[in-house]
Amino acid sequence: MNEGERQSAGTLLDVRDLRVSYAGRGRGRRGGRAAVDGVSLTVTAEETLGLVGESGSGKTTVARCVAGLLSPGAGTVTFEGRPLGRAGRRPPELQRAVQMVFQDPRSSLNPRMTVAAIIAEVWGTHPVTAPRGDRTAALHRLLAGMGLDPEVASRRAGDLSGGQCQRVSIARALAVRPRLLVCDEAVSALDVSVQAQILRLLADLRGRHRLAMLFISHDLGVVHQIADRVAVMSRGVIVEEGRTDEVLTAPRHPYTRALLDAALDLDDTVRDDDTVRDDGTVRDDDRARGDGRVRGDGTVRGDCTVRDDGTVPRDGMLPGDGTVWGDGTVRGDGTADGEVAV
């Protein structure tokens, strides 16, 4: 494939012009909405790419395409030049190579399975990664690498704390020796002190196992800590991409700037410069006109429903069926970033 040949050496994951739209429900006036509208990104070996954006930006949809949980409508996803299809259709070595860690470890682990059974299952699926010889010793080594006691092996996932569950999820992903770890809000549901533990663990494992990571988060602070590069998504497209320290200290795109302005830091003093007014609007000279992305008042333009000031254009109602999704948001046209409806 042309794209495959063009990629530079060291590129692990190559996403080209990815498009995903979810079928709209109802009378089909709009027919569905592009959740991801032409996203291209690459992740090189041992690199961590942070993907940030607000809910509805499409970042989770990108993650799910990479993990093979969703089929893209258009575009290609390749891993070292080899196309990545749906997870079930991938050759075993590609299945293994890309693993995912989800936001809520409690819903991504079967609460009634023991930790030993959870790990045995993935070793059964990928026998080449199964340890030769003493499996129990190997299991204990794996758990120890995650900072878990050996006694956890016999516990059921439902009896573990949130932090322990997330360590087990990571152990399950690493048990098959992946090269790319897709972390979708992997630390967002955790208590602050536990979040720090898991971040530290991910950073350690990344070095130890020479992992590349696609790290999806809405928390700019977390991304700043862990990512080498960052891509900012809004309305299904990447609006800015670059080295983390550059993007998050000197953002070029108004949307990134709006995100950073809204993000709180511990030691912030009340803003007294004049870039942002008290009502949250941005001054004229900061306006971005004509790029179709961010309005002068800091709200984002698009066909889609909720402005970031919490107001809704047009008739004040969301079009569509107003289904409520797991993260508590309503997607106007009944679509969600692949999240499970409640």
Binding site: V192, S193, T244, L248, T249, D265, D267, V312, G328
Partner: protein
């Protein structure tokens, strides 16, 4: 939009707090819950702090810290089977011993609450206007007056086109608008104290900053007291003048928010602060605390934090520390608070 565009310094421009005593004084509050095998679990264990007039107090803690239980106790909504001891002095009147009718009169009127999940707080089958207008309607105001008042409340909560939004159902509004509707409901009874339990946790950052600003503006305009319950230190450091940090059902530190978060007087607060990554600068990954947060059900002896504490000594294992004033205005439940402060 009405949300007054007034600049807000921390504490600036407000009536001096404490001139006529705090609006709410929580003294030695304990909430006991039924535990397994007939045991009782002290989910809230001897919590004391004040909420002064026109002041925001941030109540910080991780899951199981008892922060939400404390807020619910103030509202008179402890869980089923819970026993409440201690005192909740509302303008000097003890709500723990007050009769149910009096408590009902206070709840939702003098003390109002904003919950984390606006979808759960709103009735999905009723239009926004009906829900926000519930208190004016119960006050038997004429229908036109209820309508006018409802629109006014929505307008104060920063909802554009209130007349139109009154006819919307909760699912037709965005997350930010829904939380504004909940705020409008809370304001309906002209409260003196607003309990906000993780009011922005479910919202995107850009929406979060606007909701926080709205709350600050309303608070400044009305001289409201606010108890902000949150796990998010960043939010608390922005909004609160005072902070109370809870761990495993007990207070471990309280004091002025900025000072406490800049120079903590308890090792747990210090660890929390270290765990918060900065947005605008790259912070090195902090050495995390070992273990999981203790819960009231399995609270360690002595200082509940001692198994995770980097400064732990023999005394911490045996002797439960009392909350004491380690430095002027700085209260800490650490035996070695002076040492922590001195670092």
């Amino acid at each position: 939009m009405t949300a007054a565009g007034t600049a807000r310094g921390h504490g600036a421009g407000k009536a001096a707090p404490g001139t006529d005593g705090p609006v709410l004084r929580i003294a030695d509050l304990a909430v006991e819950l039924p535990g397994p095998h007939g045991t009782r679990v002290r989910a809230v264990d001897g919590v004391s702090f004040d909420v002064p007039r026109a002041t925001t107090v941030g109540l910080i803690g991780e899951s199981g810290s008892g922060k939400t239980m404390t807020a619910h106790a103030v509202l008179g909504l402890p869980p089923e089977g819970a026993t409440l001891t201690g005192r909740l002095l509302w303008h000097g009147e003890d709500l723990v011993t007050a009769d149910p009718a009096r408590r009902r009169a206070v709840r939702g009127r003098e003390i109002a609450m904003i919950f984390q999940d606006p979808l759960a707080a709103l009735n999905p089958t009723q239009r926004i206007g009906r829900q926000v207008g519930e208190i004016p309607r119960r006050d038997r105001l004429p229908r036109a007056e209820v309508r006018r008042r409802t629109a006014e409340l929505l307008d104060r909560a920063g909802i554009p086109e209130p007349e139109r939004r009154m006819r919307a159902y909760p699912h037709e509004l965005s997350g930010g608008l829904r939380q504004r509707a909940v705020i409008a409901m809370a304001l309906a009874g002209n409260p003196e104290l607003l309990l906000a339990d993780e009011p922005t946790t479910a919202l995107d950052v850009t929406v979060q900053s606007r909701i926080l600003r709205l709350l600050a503006d309303i608070q400044a305009a009305d001289g409201l007291a606010m108890l902000l319950v949150s796990h998010d230190l960043r939010v608390v450091s922005h909004v609160a003048e005072q902070v109370v940090v809870m761990y495993a059902g007990r207070v471990c530190e309280r004091g002025p928010a900025r000072a406490a978060l800049r120079r903590p007087a308890h090792p747990y607060t210090a660890a929390l602060v270290r765990s918060v990554p900065a947005v605008r600068t790259r912070t090195a990954l902090a050495a995390p605390l070992p273990g999981a947060p203790a819960t009231p059900a399995n609270r360690p002896d002595g200082c509940a934090f001692h198994p995770r504490c980097p400064l732990v000594r023999a005394r911490c294992r045996d002797e439960t520390p009392q909350v004491r004033e380690a430095a002027p205005g700085r209260w800490s439940a650490c035996h070695f608070a002076e040492e922590v402060l001195g670092e």
